[in-house]
Protein backbone atom coordinates (compact mmCIF):
# COMPACT_ATOMS: atom_id res chain seq x y z
CA UNK A 1 0.00 0.00 0.00
CA UNK A 2 1.66 3.20 -1.15
CA UNK A 3 1.07 6.19 1.10
CA UNK A 4 0.59 9.35 -0.93
CA UNK A 5 1.36 11.49 2.11
CA UNK A 6 -2.16 12.75 2.58
CA UNK A 7 -3.57 9.71 4.33
CA UNK A 8 -4.55 7.84 1.17
CA UNK A 9 -3.15 4.46 0.23
CA UNK A 10 -3.01 2.83 -3.18
CA UNK A 11 -2.63 -0.90 -3.65
CA UNK A 12 0.55 -1.33 -5.70
CA UNK A 13 1.05 -5.05 -5.02
CA UNK A 14 0.29 -6.18 -8.57
CA UNK A 15 3.47 -6.38 -10.60
CA UNK A 16 5.68 -5.36 -7.68
CA UNK A 17 7.11 -8.84 -7.11
CA UNK A 18 5.43 -9.08 -3.73
CA UNK A 19 2.44 -10.65 -5.49
CA UNK A 20 4.60 -13.71 -6.18
CA UNK A 21 5.04 -14.41 -2.48
CA UNK A 22 3.11 -17.54 -1.52
CA UNK A 23 4.09 -17.86 2.13
CA UNK A 24 2.41 -16.46 5.17
CA UNK A 25 4.95 -15.03 7.55
CA UNK A 26 4.65 -14.13 11.20
CA UNK A 27 6.91 -11.21 10.57
CA UNK A 28 8.53 -9.25 7.79
CA UNK A 29 12.03 -7.92 8.14
CA UNK A 30 12.82 -4.80 6.17
CA UNK A 31 16.46 -3.77 5.81
CA UNK A 32 18.83 -2.87 3.03
CA UNK A 33 20.75 -6.12 3.03
CA UNK A 34 22.69 -5.52 -0.18
CA UNK A 35 23.41 -1.84 0.50
CA UNK A 36 22.03 -0.71 -2.85
CA UNK A 37 20.03 2.07 -1.24
CA UNK A 38 16.72 0.23 -1.49
CA UNK A 39 15.03 -1.62 1.34
CA UNK A 40 14.71 -5.39 1.02
CA UNK A 41 11.96 -7.41 2.66
CA UNK A 42 12.44 -10.81 4.26
CA UNK A 43 9.75 -13.18 5.44
CA UNK A 44 9.12 -16.88 5.98
CA UNK A 45 7.94 -18.38 2.73
Amino acid sequence: MRNDGTGNFTNVTAGSGMHLWSGSSIEWTAHDFNNDGWIDIGGGG
Binding site: R2, V12, G15, S16, G17, M18, L20, W21, S25, I26, E27, T29, H31, D32, F33, N34, N35, D36, G37, W38, D40, I41, G42, G43, G44, G45
Partner: protein
Protein backbone atom coordinates in the same frame (compact mmCIF):
# COMPACT_ATOMS: atom_id res chain seq x y z
CA UNK B 1 9.02 -0.08 -6.46
CA UNK B 2 9.57 -3.72 -7.34
CA UNK B 3 10.95 -6.71 -5.51
CA UNK B 4 12.70 -9.82 -6.79
CA UNK B 5 12.12 -13.03 -4.89
CA UNK B 6 15.14 -14.75 -3.35
CA UNK B 7 15.09 -18.00 -1.44
CA UNK B 8 16.92 -18.67 1.78
CA UNK B 9 16.52 -15.15 3.05
CA UNK B 10 15.73 -14.16 6.58
CA UNK B 11 12.38 -14.57 8.26
CA UNK B 12 12.09 -13.28 11.79
CA UNK B 13 15.60 -12.78 12.99
CA UNK B 14 17.72 -10.34 14.88
CA UNK B 15 19.42 -8.14 12.32
CA UNK B 16 22.81 -6.53 12.75
CA UNK B 17 26.25 -6.36 11.27
CA UNK B 18 27.81 -9.09 13.43
CA UNK B 19 31.11 -9.15 11.55
CA UNK B 20 31.37 -5.37 11.03
CA UNK B 21 31.87 -5.61 7.28
CA UNK B 22 29.13 -3.07 6.57
CA UNK B 23 26.57 -5.62 5.46
CA UNK B 24 23.72 -6.67 7.71
CA UNK B 25 23.74 -10.24 8.97
CA UNK B 26 20.96 -12.12 10.70
CA UNK B 27 20.73 -14.63 13.50
CA UNK B 28 17.89 -16.66 14.88
CA UNK B 29 18.40 -18.82 17.94
CA UNK B 30 21.57 -20.74 17.22
CA UNK B 31 21.39 -19.97 13.50
CA UNK B 32 23.61 -17.28 12.04
CA UNK B 33 23.54 -16.20 8.42
CA UNK B 34 26.46 -14.09 7.41
CA UNK B 35 25.90 -11.61 4.61
CA UNK B 36 28.58 -12.17 1.97
CA UNK B 37 28.60 -8.48 1.22
CA UNK B 38 29.53 -6.77 -2.01
CA UNK B 39 30.93 -3.55 -3.38
CA UNK B 40 28.08 -1.19 -2.50
CA UNK B 41 28.83 1.67 -0.15
CA UNK B 42 27.17 2.05 3.22
CA UNK B 43 26.90 4.25 6.28
CA UNK B 44 26.05 3.35 9.82
CA UNK B 45 24.99 6.05 12.25
CA UNK B 46 25.26 5.36 15.96
CA UNK B 47 23.56 7.86 18.23
CA UNK B 48 24.39 8.70 21.84
CA UNK B 49 21.68 10.74 23.49
CA UNK B 50 22.56 13.21 26.24
CA UNK B 51 19.50 15.41 26.67
CA UNK B 52 17.42 12.72 24.98
CA UNK B 53 17.41 9.12 26.12
CA UNK B 54 20.80 7.42 25.94
CA UNK B 55 19.90 5.17 22.99
CA UNK B 56 18.18 8.03 21.13
CA UNK B 57 15.05 5.94 20.63
CA UNK B 58 12.65 8.13 18.71
CA UNK B 59 15.35 9.95 16.75
CA UNK B 60 15.03 10.35 13.00
CA UNK B 61 18.15 10.10 10.85
CA UNK B 62 17.97 11.47 7.32
CA UNK B 63 20.71 11.34 4.68
CA UNK B 64 20.90 12.75 1.19
CA UNK B 65 23.18 11.37 -1.51
CA UNK B 66 22.97 11.11 -5.30
CA UNK B 67 20.48 8.26 -4.86
CA UNK B 68 18.14 10.60 -3.05
CA UNK B 69 16.96 10.96 0.53
CA UNK B 70 16.77 8.07 2.95
CA UNK B 71 15.20 8.08 6.40
CA UNK B 72 15.63 5.82 9.40
CA UNK B 73 13.78 6.07 12.67
CA UNK B 74 15.56 4.73 15.73
CA UNK B 75 13.25 2.18 17.26
CA UNK B 76 13.56 -0.47 19.91
CA UNK B 77 11.81 -3.79 20.06
CA UNK B 78 10.12 -3.65 16.68
CA UNK B 79 10.63 -7.32 15.94
CA UNK B 80 8.96 -10.49 17.14
CA UNK B 81 11.09 -12.17 19.82
CA UNK B 82 14.31 -10.59 18.65
CA UNK B 83 16.17 -7.41 19.37
CA UNK B 84 17.99 -6.06 16.35
CA UNK B 85 20.83 -3.59 16.07
CA UNK B 86 19.46 -0.21 17.15
CA UNK B 87 21.48 2.19 15.02
CA UNK B 88 20.66 3.59 11.59
CA UNK B 89 22.07 1.58 8.68
CA UNK B 90 22.03 2.96 5.15
CA UNK B 91 22.95 1.34 1.86
CA UNK B 92 24.36 3.80 -0.64
CA UNK B 93 24.82 1.86 -3.87
CA UNK B 94 27.72 3.50 -5.68
CA UNK B 95 27.39 6.82 -3.87
CA UNK B 96 30.58 7.92 -2.16
CA UNK B 97 29.39 11.35 -1.09
CA UNK B 98 26.80 12.03 1.57
CA UNK B 99 25.75 15.59 1.00
CA UNK B 100 23.92 15.90 4.26
CA UNK B 101 23.19 13.90 7.36
CA UNK B 102 20.63 15.31 9.74
CA UNK B 103 19.52 14.01 13.09
CA UNK B 104 16.31 15.06 14.74
CA UNK B 105 16.73 14.06 18.37
CA UNK B 106 13.78 12.99 20.50
CA UNK B 107 14.41 16.06 22.63
CA UNK B 108 13.58 18.23 19.62
CA UNK B 109 16.80 19.74 18.36
CA UNK B 110 18.21 19.03 14.90
CA UNK B 111 21.90 18.58 14.12
CA UNK B 112 23.24 18.59 10.57
CA UNK B 113 26.52 17.18 9.28
CA UNK B 114 28.14 17.37 5.86
CA UNK B 115 31.12 15.52 4.38
CA UNK B 116 30.27 12.34 6.23
CA UNK B 117 32.65 9.51 5.25
CA UNK B 118 31.07 6.37 3.77
CA UNK B 119 31.91 2.74 4.55
CA UNK B 120 32.43 3.54 8.19
CA UNK B 121 30.45 3.91 11.37
CA UNK B 122 29.61 7.49 12.30
CA UNK B 123 28.92 8.12 15.96
CA UNK B 124 27.16 11.28 17.04
CA UNK B 125 26.90 12.43 20.63
CA UNK B 126 23.86 14.64 21.05
CA UNK B 127 24.70 18.31 21.37
CA UNK B 128 28.16 18.13 19.81
CA UNK B 129 27.33 20.78 17.20
CA UNK B 130 25.24 22.95 19.47
CA UNK B 131 27.92 23.05 22.12
CA UNK B 132 25.76 21.62 24.86
CA UNK B 133 28.22 18.88 25.71
CA UNK B 134 31.44 20.79 25.25
CA UNK B 135 33.73 19.99 28.10
CA UNK B 136 33.08 21.90 31.26
CA UNK B 137 36.06 21.88 33.56
CA UNK B 138 33.92 22.39 36.58
CA UNK B 139 30.36 21.74 37.38
CA UNK B 140 28.09 23.86 39.50
CA UNK B 141 25.44 22.77 41.94
CA UNK B 142 21.88 23.60 40.96
CA UNK B 143 18.85 23.14 43.14
CA UNK B 144 16.08 22.27 43.05
CA UNK B 145 16.59 20.19 39.93
CA UNK B 146 14.17 19.67 38.25
CA UNK B 147 12.99 23.21 38.88
CA UNK B 148 9.51 24.66 38.62
CA UNK B 149 9.59 28.38 39.45
CA UNK B 150 13.14 29.22 40.40
CA UNK B 151 16.58 27.66 40.56
CA UNK B 152 19.49 28.42 42.84
CA UNK B 153 23.16 28.14 41.94
CA UNK B 154 25.00 26.56 44.81
CA UNK B 155 28.45 28.06 44.58
CA UNK B 156 28.65 31.20 42.49
CA UNK B 157 30.85 34.15 43.28
CA UNK B 158 29.24 37.52 43.72
CA UNK B 159 30.66 38.69 40.40
CA UNK B 160 29.57 35.63 38.46
CA UNK B 161 27.47 36.08 35.36
CA UNK B 162 25.04 33.39 34.38
CA UNK B 163 23.59 32.25 31.09
CA UNK B 164 20.88 29.70 30.43
CA UNK B 165 20.94 27.90 27.08
CA UNK B 166 18.17 25.76 25.69
CA UNK B 167 18.64 22.41 23.94
CA UNK B 168 19.40 24.11 20.65
CA UNK B 169 22.17 26.14 22.26
CA UNK B 170 20.16 29.35 22.17
CA UNK B 171 20.58 31.87 24.97
CA UNK B 172 17.27 32.16 26.80
CA UNK B 173 18.22 33.83 30.10
CA UNK B 174 21.19 35.79 31.36
CA UNK B 175 22.15 38.00 34.22
CA UNK B 176 24.73 38.90 36.81
CA UNK B 177 25.10 38.34 40.51
CA UNK B 178 24.00 34.81 40.07
CA UNK B 179 23.85 34.12 43.75
CA UNK B 180 20.32 33.90 44.92
CA UNK B 181 17.31 32.54 43.17
CA UNK B 182 16.88 32.82 39.43
CA UNK B 183 13.35 32.77 38.15
CA UNK B 184 12.71 30.16 35.48
CA UNK B 185 8.97 30.57 35.28
CA UNK B 186 9.20 31.89 31.72
CA UNK B 187 11.11 28.88 30.41
CA UNK B 188 9.25 26.18 28.56
CA UNK B 189 9.50 22.70 30.06
CA UNK B 190 12.64 20.92 28.92
CA UNK B 191 16.36 20.51 29.44
CA UNK B 192 18.66 23.51 29.83
CA UNK B 193 22.26 24.32 30.45
CA UNK B 194 23.24 26.80 33.17
CA UNK B 195 26.64 28.37 32.60
CA UNK B 196 28.39 30.74 34.96
CA UNK B 197 31.43 32.86 34.23
CA UNK B 198 33.56 34.48 36.86
CA UNK B 199 37.02 35.91 36.24
CA UNK B 200 37.23 33.86 33.06
CA UNK B 201 36.37 30.58 34.77
CA UNK B 202 33.41 28.82 33.18
CA UNK B 203 31.31 26.37 35.13
CA UNK B 204 28.17 24.70 33.95
CA UNK B 205 25.51 22.14 34.75
CA UNK B 206 22.33 20.89 33.20
CA UNK B 207 18.91 21.23 34.72
CA UNK B 208 15.38 20.39 33.83
CA UNK B 209 12.48 22.80 33.87
CA UNK B 210 9.18 21.12 34.67
Amino acid sequence: MTFTSQSGGPGNHAVGDMDSDGYLDVCNGSGYQRNNGGNNKWLRVNLVGTLSNRDAIGARVTITSALGTQIRDIRSGDGFRYMSFIGAHFGLGNDEVIEELSIRWPHGEVEVFTDVPVNAPFTVVEGITTGLVEAAETSIALYPNPAMDAITIGNPGVNARYEVLDAAGKLVLEGSNANGRISVTELLPGAYLMRTTENGAVKQARFTKL
